[in-house]
Symmetry: C2
Subunit: 264 residues, 2 copies
């Protein structure tokens, strides 16, 4: 009995990545947020990788090098995408599955359909495919000088919660968005569904100095979802939104319909 | 009445893209497959974009140019990802939503978890986000010399079916995989769910001529799913697999659990 009591508690390994790159203020805020909760290892892109979605690098090899960016924290920059970073970290840095994988804190929102385009969330989803509980954090502020005070606080609360809870969910993945502004105005945390809200895109057509056309992606964000349990609703009403996310894309409702109605 | 009878039937517009690039044999097979079913417009990447997932290009502008690759077919090559191609086609080429968007035929499987990494399927998913019915086609043969005979035949059957059916599904998206080999051996079409099957990855670590490390992504495909309604099962048993796919990643089951169990 005495032996069991003095048994050293295993320190959880916390893998951190992002899509804004290893030098972004947001990832620094996330590292600060979880200090003391476990052994932190950072493997993050060496350059911005926003909008990379679930891209992986298969046509050329990856580079990875140790960087001294966070005091007292083992950190690496990687030439690949956020998803590459997670794969490489597990196989070549940690040599086992970490206890949790965190991604962010992203400079800018990843609610609604953005979950699909987001490198931040794709890294988290990748971890969950591997059976590593994961959380992606995003702050509704694109600025490089964004104030991460509230985001940091809520990130710590949620990471502690997941680390402490008995992990019954084999593939837990949470998409967390934090409203911009004074933390005192935030009303709390809301479990939400992904809103059907998206960018109505238009390309800005220009001509280069040689007269050849090129196109910039631009767009206006439109919320088509009237639901009150969505992430967009929660954020608009000053809640932190938490959407549990899955990688099984099967539309089971439609599957049933097609099984009944389609004959060849 | 006579007037109504002679009313000209609107020709459906069929947008075709892929992730292997505009010159790949697979996209040529798809163009051939749907000839006569509508007006075909091709907007496809100017280079291979496999594994690009749902990546979009936001950090730099896109180029697009008319190419003469398919006889009598309006076609463009684009410097962006498969998802970029769909967005650009709608806004700058067709100037409206096409009646259907087809992607492929991919050289290689996109069943199970591959749906998430696949540029082919991300292009189809992107169309469905926009409310355009879409189908992604993949042949279980990576070879550049793959025989697309069976794939072409089944692609035509499915496209005809979707074009003819009353579109009640606002966001129809199908992930279609076709077995390799003699079409006579294919038993038919099966509506499936996405198998939990994935690559167990390992990076091949090498040193360049200057002694610096680099890493190649490699992996072995493992099926963890014992289900008999999955795409992996169907393909193994020589069926064409059709998985209806959705872009709402919310894990509703877990959402319910967290709403009940999580208090802050």
């Amino acid at each position: 009995m005495a032996k069991a009591k003095t048994k050293k508690k295993r320190v959880p390994i916390i893998l951190i990545t992002n899509d804004d790159g290893v030098t972004a203020p947001g990832i620094r805020a996330l590292v600060e947020a979880v200090k003391g909760l476990g052994k932190v290892v950072v493997v993050a892109p060496d350059k911005p990788q926003s909008g990379m979605g679930h891209a992986i690098t298969i046509g050329h090899p990856l580079r990875m090098q140790k960087v001294n960016v966070f005091e007292g924290i083992e950190a690496y920059s990687c030439s690949g995408t956020p998803v590459d970073c997670v794969k490489l970290a597990v196989d070549k840095v940690i040599h086992r599955k970490p206890d949790i994988c965190l991604s962010g804190i992203n400079h800018g929102a990843n609610h609604s359909i953005n979950v699909i385009y987001s490198g931040t969330m794709s890294a988290a989803l990748e971890a969950s495919i591997e059976g590593i509980p994961s959380i992606g954090f995003s702050l509704l502020d694109l600025s490089i000088d964004a104030d991460f005070t509230a985001a940091t606080k809520f990130a710590r609360v949620l990471v502690e919660h997941v680390l402490k809870s008995k992990q019954e969910e084999k593939h837990l993945c949470l998409n967390v968005n934090i409203p911009k502004g004074d933390e005192k105005l935030i009303k709390g945390i809301k479990i939400c569904s992904q809103a059907y809200a998206k960018y109505e895109e238009e390309f800005d057509e220009r001509k280069d100095p040689h007269g050849r056309r090129y196109y910039w992606l631009t767009g206006e964000f439109v919320n088509f979802d009237k639901g009150k349990d969505t992430d967009v609703w929660a954020l608009k009403n000053n809640y932190v939104s938490v959407v549990p996310v899955q990688f099984d894309l099967t539309n089971y409702e439609l599957k049933k319909k097609l099984e009944t109605n389609w004959t060849f």
